[in-house]
Amino acid sequence: MTIGKKILLYLVLILSGFIMFFPIVYAFMISFMQGGEVLQGKLIPENFTLTNYLNAFEKVPLLRYLINSLVVSTVIMLGQLLLCSLAAFAFVFTKFKGKNLLFMLFISTMMIPWEATMVPNFQTIQSLGWLNSFPGLTIPFFAMAFGTFLLRQQFKTIPIELYEASQVSGVSRFKFFLTVVLPISKTSLITLGIYCFLTAWNMYLWPLLVTNDEKVRTVQIGLKQMQTQEIASEWGVVMAGVMLVILPTLLLIFVGQKRLQEGLTRGAIK
Amino acid sequence: MRALELKQMRKSYQADIEVLKGIDIVIEPGEFFVLVGPSGCGKSTLLRMIAGLEEISSGELYIGGAYANKLKPSKRELSMVFQNYALFPHMTVEQNIAFGLHVKKLTKVEQSQRCKEAAEMLGLTPYLKRKPRELSGGQRQRVALARAIVTQDPICLMDEPLSNLDAKLRTKMRSEIRQLQRKLGITMIYVTHDQTEAMTMADRMMILNQGEVQQVGKPLDIYNHPANTFVASFIGAPPMNMVNGYIQNGNVHLPCDTTLPQIHHNLTGEFTIGIRPEHLVRATNTDEATLQAIVTNVEMLGTETLINFQLTDKLQWTARWQGQHAIPLGEKVSFAIKTEDLVFFDDQTKQNTFLEGVEVI
């Protein structure tokens, strides 16, 4: 690579990085603005004080919400990884009647608009007595067509010889799943895990519907609680809340990104 | 025909880790040149530097006399066969072979003509419409070869092209590649870790270890006159037998109470002494210098027999005898040794004392 090309690449990288990251920086700036500064169209706050952050913690039990979100997202993530990998495994490594039809059925669930399911699901959860509880917040999301689809694509790249080898050596299918399929697919599992976690972290309407209590409520509800309609929202505080809420997810991406990279290079050297 | 010249070529990834430590070599046009060494010795890196896939950290590369350090891979007029063949899974054999030919400013007709020739030469004609995954390992290997020769570049680089094949096929391909090279008269630079491949195929070979050249030369010269203990044990199977001994008063003392009488060199002191297995012949008459040892294992290969025996408590040697010898295990056998068959390596530098100071090319 010539120096000129390198410089050009870096320029493009920096430019696109700036464009991609700008909205987040903007939110960060707003999170330090007081009162009307935001509405007057300023870009850089007058001074960087933590008042808004303290306010955000005061306004809603943010810490409690953060812990709840962490628990809910982690449980959903683990549940999804488990169920999706099991189902994807079945779609790739077992043979049963109606498999293809079932797969199409699975995929079709992705197309069901959530608006249509919200109210009936709420009633189901209510009749199960799961309102205001972690099962109600998590279990409906354990099955996920998207994740099953993603893992199926990944599992399909595993050479069939590996499966045959395990059959020959008398290893049970489940053991093959645990000891061969899962470790090989680690990268995909981590990617999917991050995705699941983030999606769960960003849920709003469902947690709002099934909870009545700050003991189980999640951060996105907290964010909504900070905004107002008829009265001017304190955007500085709201953005401080946003920053606090996206901090864990950004950290996760940062760490996950590294792990991802490790996983990928390890796979490449082999 | 173009020669290749490497001058003090070095490669380092980080400042302190040097993968190649100054390689100097001239590869003659039309030569079959083999780079051999254990894995991790830097031979593939060297090949990739020649190809232009890796940057040259320092030193100079000349192709056909022209400075080529900064040349793009495609401008070096060479072809390359990769270890895993690097076939495009989504293209047919024909498309794979013809890949990139359009850059050579050939007409469509010429392209397909060349492609057919290459396929014909390698017996791939029936498979032209197939995808790589529908081929056997040997056929894939041939596709990779065809893709290299179709370019008609004067230099061809091969990076362990046979390592994914089974033993029998490997032997067959070995001679095929050699014949092909002769037929086309191209310069071939061939990387392998297999000393047999190197011995059987090379016009000349270069042995690398830990980024340093150990020895360069014709296979037999190297076999007969290994430059150091590394080369001695790397080239030849089974490897050269070695033991620490010393020379005193013109007598060679081996640690197994064996003393060889005369020596026509003026050597004295401690040495690592080596001897090829085939030089440990069965003692037939008593006035020969002999070595007596207990047989621990016997491998009969039909035309020859390998006899393992306990030289000292910790050291086993192997002898290779022509013919079939059913020796019971545990028997004490006498081996005759000729002093001129012994190779003496400096105890400190591990260099062959006979070759010391001699330029080895």
Partner: protein, 441 residues
């Protein structure tokens, strides 16, 4: 990897314990002998704190009842949830619903009109502001208890007025004054006037002229069957917007409250209509002097006054009478002058109980924010009628969307009459469908 497992297992553990705790929690509440009143509301931001303070005040004052306010998202979200749980044990005792949901709540059959308790106790309703309670009263039955109430006002930039040579102490009162002022205020960087694309403001601008929104006396004497806002009054409003927009003295700020406030505070617009509840924050945040005035009327039209906006508190049916009574106690507490004074000062909404305005705390605040008094006066001067009582429509939210679309089409050059008629026709259809359903019930 190990760490990851530890974290996962920990999370699972928390999860498990949380599950097992859950059933215990619900029982605990009733164990201490107090009646628990769950109060669902949609007050977010600073308002949620004020609601909590009111509830805390009530809980501290007596030891029979505990009121627990729970935020349930926007009005729409809360109403969806209420709709689903109404009639079950998960239903709240008190439910806050926006003004346009009034007809819906009445029709739902899941609420208990507060009139019952007023009658039972002979509670004196006259201490409440008639112009507020009227909205939630149908056929002389008080259905819900007004809670957060607001009206629209004209907000303007006094500094800009001075610069344009206008009297900063005198807000434009008629359309011609408004237009003239807007013309003077409009320059390269500033546009004279703006209205949020929100149906409420159109309703108000019609009502202030004494015009009706739907037939059957604004739906107060029978189910509304036809939209009538496309009459003379509505046309005047739309013509005003259309003309000013064509002149370039009207700025389209979209549907977001915050966008229009941003436009005002950044000096992009000099006058706009805002909710009385938002005034104080606007005054605080603006880097210039802010004035407030009454809603403008067309020339030669007598000002009738404004309709109340905001939300009210509803009581659920099908719950223990004891809980209903407890909820009623809380509602009464909320309307006491002291509480209302606090509410008015902290939230910016009106006091339901006008007595609160005479309290020194309020008077002091008014000294600081004379703009607040303007809003109260505007409400006080309102002449009660079907027009200012506000419309009662089952499909009100939908109607508002249609009006917004009509407003938006004005900016695309559609004729005011055409825009209004189209919206009215669409609302007629919806009304017809809704009435048909209700009829077949």
């Amino acid at each position: 990897m190990k760490k990851l497992w530890v974290v996962s297992i920990l999370c699972m553990l928390i999860f498990m314990t949380a599950c097992s705790n859950d059933s215990a929690n619900t029982e605990e509440a009733s164990e201490d002998g107090k009646t628990e009143v769950i109060f669902w509301h949609s007050m977010s931001g600073e308002l949620e704190h004020v609601v909590q303070e009111v509830a805390d005040g009530f809980n501290a004052e007596q030891d029979e009842i505990t009121v627990t306010p729970v935020f349930q998202g926007t009005y729409e979200e809360a109403i969806t949830k209420f709709n689903t749980v109404a009639g079950t044990e998960d239903a709240p005792a008190i439910m806050q619903t926006f003004e346009v949901g009034t007809k819906y709540m009445i029709d739902s059959g899941k609420i208990q009109p507060v009139q019952k308790f007023i009658d039972d106790e002979g509670y004196d309703m006259n201490q409440w502001e008639k112009n507020i309670t009227n909205y939630y009263s149908v056929d002389d039955t008080q259905y819900s208890m007004p809670f957060n109430s607001s009206t629209p006002v004209l907000i303007y930039n006094k500094d800009a007025f001075k610069e344009a040579g206008l009297d900063p102490e005198k807000a434009p009162e008629t359309y011609s004054e408004l237009k003239e002022a807007a013309k003077k205020l409009t320059n390269d960087d500033q546009v004279g006037f703006s209205i949020l694309n929100y149906g409420w403001f159109i309703e108000e601008l019609i009502a202030v002229q004494g015009g009706l929104f739907v037939d059957n006396d604004n739906g107060r004497t029978g189910n509304a069957e036809k939209a009538v806002f496309n009459g003379e009054e509505g046309l005047k409003v739309f013509e005003l917007i259309s003309e000013m927009h064509k002149e370039g003295t009207f700025y389209n700020t979209g549907q977001n409250w915050d966008d229009i406030r941003a436009a005002f505070q950044s000096g992009k617009i000099a006058m706009y209509l805002d909710s009385s509840a938002g005034i104080r924050a606007t005054v605080d945040n603006a880097p210039f002097e802010v004035g407030a005035g009454y809603l403008p009327v067309p020339d030669g039209v007598d000002r009738q006054g404004v309709i109340i906006g905001g939300a009210s508190l509803w009581m659920a049916k099908d719950i223990d009478e004891e809980k209903q009574r407890a909820a009623w106690e809380f509602m009464k507490y909320v309307t006491t002058p002291d509480v209302q004074a606090q509410w008015h000062l902290k939230s910016g909404y009106f006091s339901i109980n006008p007595a609160a305005y005479d309290l020194p705390v309020v008077q002091e605040e008014w000294e600081k924010y004379p703009q607040l008094k303007v809003t109260v006066d505007q409400l006080k001067n309102t002449i009660p009628s079907e027009a200012t009582q506000g419309a009662l429509i089952s499909v009100f939210p939908e109607a508002r969307q249609k009006v917004v679309s009509a407003m938006e089409s004005l900016y695309q050059g559609v004729e005011p009459k055409e825009a209004l008629d189209r919206a009215a026709a669409e609302i007629d259809q919806s009304l017809e469908a809704a009435n048909r359903k209700n009829g077949s019930q």
